[in-house]
């Protein structure tokens, strides 16, 4: 089977060619690099890969911000590159133009809203202050522009990954 994904922002094409032996396969990366692989799922989310004698532990994390693989002490996010998904199209379109969202990195309570809809803001200007775990955190604008959307008011609670405002 062929899987298209975005790993750490990079587009990747992985072709998986099963072998007759269970757990053995060939993987073709980006249409060129071919490797012999042994794959075994120990328990949901915990995958043991053997490639040329080397053993690797790959752990899948599914969370509000999407899918991440924990590998050798690093978290590497990936997303299946699904043409139906707006995200993918946008990511292919390039991340650097168009409106950008101010999203909550964690759940919490809105303490203060520092701007009004329609305001002109600078990049890194504070937009909203959220409190979680006894700490107040100022969320900043990802870019210079105008606040075209403002979805929260003081006292409200927000979920991780929730869009609080949009700047264009």
């Amino acid at each position: 089977m062929m899987v298209q994904l975005e790993v750490n922002g990079e587009l990747r094409r992985v072709e998986l060619v099963p072998d007759e032996l269970p757990g053995r396969l060939r993987a073709v990366l980006d249409g060129e690099k071919e490797t012999e692989i042994q794959a075994h799922l120990l328990r949901p989310g915990v995958l043991s890969l053997h490639i040329a004698g080397k053993a690797y532990r790959c752990v899948l994390e599914e969370g509000p911000e999407g899918t991440v693989i924990h590998f050798a002490g690093t978290r590497i996010p990936y997303r299946i590159d699904d043409p139906r998904s707006l995200k993918s199209r946008r990511s292919r379109a390039g991340r650097h133009e168009g409106p950008k969202a101010v999203t909550a990195p964690m759940p919490g309570r809105v303490i203060r809203v520092l701007v009004n809809k329609g305001d002109e803001v600078q990049a890194h200007q504070g937009i909203v202050v959220i409190e979680a775990m006894k700490m107040q955190n100022e969320l900043k604008s990802p870019k210079a522009g105008r606040v075209i959307e403002l979805r929260v008011q003081p006292g409200g609670t927000v979920a991780a990954g929730e869009v609080l405002a949009v700047v264009d």
Binding site: V3, L16, G23, A39, L47, T67, T74, P105, N137
Partner: protein, 503 residues
Amino acid sequence: MKFRKVLIANRGEIALRIIRACRELGIGTVAVYSDADRAALHVLEADEAYRLGPAPAAESYLRGNLILDIAHKTKADAIHPGYGFLSENANFAEACEKARVKFIGPPSSAMRALGSKTSARQVADSVKMPRTPGSVKGLASLEEAHAVAAEIGYPVMLKAAAGGGGKGMRAVFFANELASAFAAAASEAERAFGSGEVYLEKLVERPRHIEIQVLADEHGNCVSLGERECSVQRRHQKVIEEAPSAIVDEDLRSRMGEAAARFAKSAGYTNAGTVEFLVDEAKNFYFLEMNTRLQVEHPVTELVTGLDLVHLQIHIAQGGKLPFKQEDIRLRGHAIECRIYAEDPENGFFPSPGKITRLLQPGGPGIREDSGIYEGWVVPMEYDPMLSKLVGYAQNRNVAIRRLLRALDEYVIGGIRSNLNLFRTILRDQDFQSARIDTGYLDRLLAAKTITQTSAPEREEIVAIAAALFESMKPVNGDPSNSPVNGRTSNWKQAARREALRA
């Protein structure tokens, strides 16, 4: 008097740790919990559990009267406050005394005498314990502040008498900064602790934070259990604690221990407590404050002394005598504790509450983990971000560091962010490895290097393949049974079905 039942007025890892100790001593346990903690392990493992109220601490874990009512209703003989919440609340301790429910900690009188930093400094003087030069009561006015500062000389430190955690604290290097700093510190203290009282002391440059664990029974015996070094701090918050300290020798240890024990006894202190000191580059030590409770970092002392501090707290609260003398205390090996937090060091240390969707915890020889988390647990947004205390013990400091690095590689926390990579960075740092640390060490390190993970192209290739394989197992991407990954089917189910048909 032996306790039949103890109420644990706390949550998280410390509540679970106290429940375990009680069980080992044959004592029944009563847990209390807020709505955010119904699914917490301390609620699961206790013999009894009672709801306190909504998630915010003020409506749950800080409701002393309700907690006392539950203690009465359940016929609990004693209350263990853990750390934080009501643990240093003298009024609550007094209410317990009046209600004839044993508060597992010092008497409220000792708590009051040592609770305020200014009055504690007066006690220090009364027993000739070295402290930083400066005032021993609140500053009445800016003029007084100027006078004291001029007398002891700049740089000076403004501190809140009721303070803690760095709030209401200001370093002042020149006289012309004093006025604004004085106003700022006072108002910050007012907001944080409801008391604007601030005092002034000489600023110790590049100090180490070294504290002495003391244990006092109710028969006048008091011993010190060696020191802990807690110099690795971020914004005045401890991040790593270890025992022993690399710079404390037998002589300094006994002098600090003797001073700490004398100090505690003079205030009629009982049970477990910690006397905190600053130590300067010349190894002079200055009294900082006393924590009148069990400390978060008590495990490192347990590992090097071989004692169980919670067992001993209960023994003392039951009226028992200390089962050993000062000379029986022997330190062996080295222990280091990492405070694993739900925060994102790669992104301004943003807190990261939420659901733990994946959890692989480390193990093996010399690794102790005190935690109250599990895969599926939702870390509440209302309390401090501590997930776990990962402690490494070994025959020496160097091996303990490598053991912790090994454990960190086994550790996976998914669904929320954690500061695991912060500890990888610190434990690999040359200065930390050679114990060149002071309370400014970590902030300097973080200013110099940001906590980023090392990425490499071949890693991303392996991850791309792993990601493709995970996707191949999802029904939405086709028939999982076509996935080349092995090990997905459980082999007993078929057998069971086969058997069911036959039976």
